[in-house]
Symmetry: C2
Subunit: 124 residues, 2 copies
Amino acid sequence: MTPQRMAVLKVIIDNEEHLTAEQVYGRVKPDFPMISLATVYKTLSMLKEMGEILELDLHTGCKHYDGHRIFSHPHLICTECGAVVDIEEHDLSNLSQDMEKSTGFEITKFQANFFGICPQCQKH
Amino acid sequence: MTPQRMAVLKVIIDNEEHLTAEQVYGRVKPDFPMISLATVYKTLSMLKEMGEILELDLHTGCKHYDGHRIFSHPHLICTECGAVVDIEEHDLSNLSQDMEKSTGFEITKFQANFFGICPQCQKH
DNA sequence: CTACATGCAAACCCTTTGCAGGCTG
DNA sequence: CAGCCTGCAAAGGGTTTGCATGTAG
């Protein structure tokens, strides 16, 4: 893995947020001024294939990446301010297993997003 | 609501599948040869706002629409052949309620998609 | 020398938008 | 006439790709 690619992975792992390709690009650029967005995309695609990072669709118009927890986990998204809360929830894993039994599918991953209004936004 | 828009809604309701904008366009065209894709998109957007149809992201590169069950429900998607199975599952509703209590969010909808390999594709 | 990595720009694809003409009431 | 509905074409935005150059082993 090249230094640039390492940098992309590091940026994703070092951030608690779920960065977009554009954001990753912006944060890698100080250290690698010559890096292009295309390289970032190619790298993200590679890391995703390798299972190093998780690609998320938070319904914001572009993809987000999470390097902290490779296993799928649910998100709670505020439709007012865009805040994203990661959920630690194991019920869905059990649900996956139940579903495998009842449908015969071999489930490889799941995506569960809950949309709503966060406590702060409810006040306004 | 204009006849064309009624036709768009009807196509979605009459189909068990989750049609894409392009597919809706193709099925409305026999009755309304002059209809344009732009009108289909505008109508789908309107119907979504009205809460008549549900917009789904099945990770196929474009959006799908479901007019049968306006309330969110989970899907099981085969990553090999693209088959989509609707899941009747009430555990997620309970989960929503639990989550509201623990996070203070007011949850308006949820999206849950399980990806895997269907029984047929597992044979090959 | 072979293979892979990179930057640039163009291409892609689905979706949205601007606009002028039509239709309705 | 006011206001919405329509089709067309163009624009839009995130992502992908082709290609020539650069780099490493």
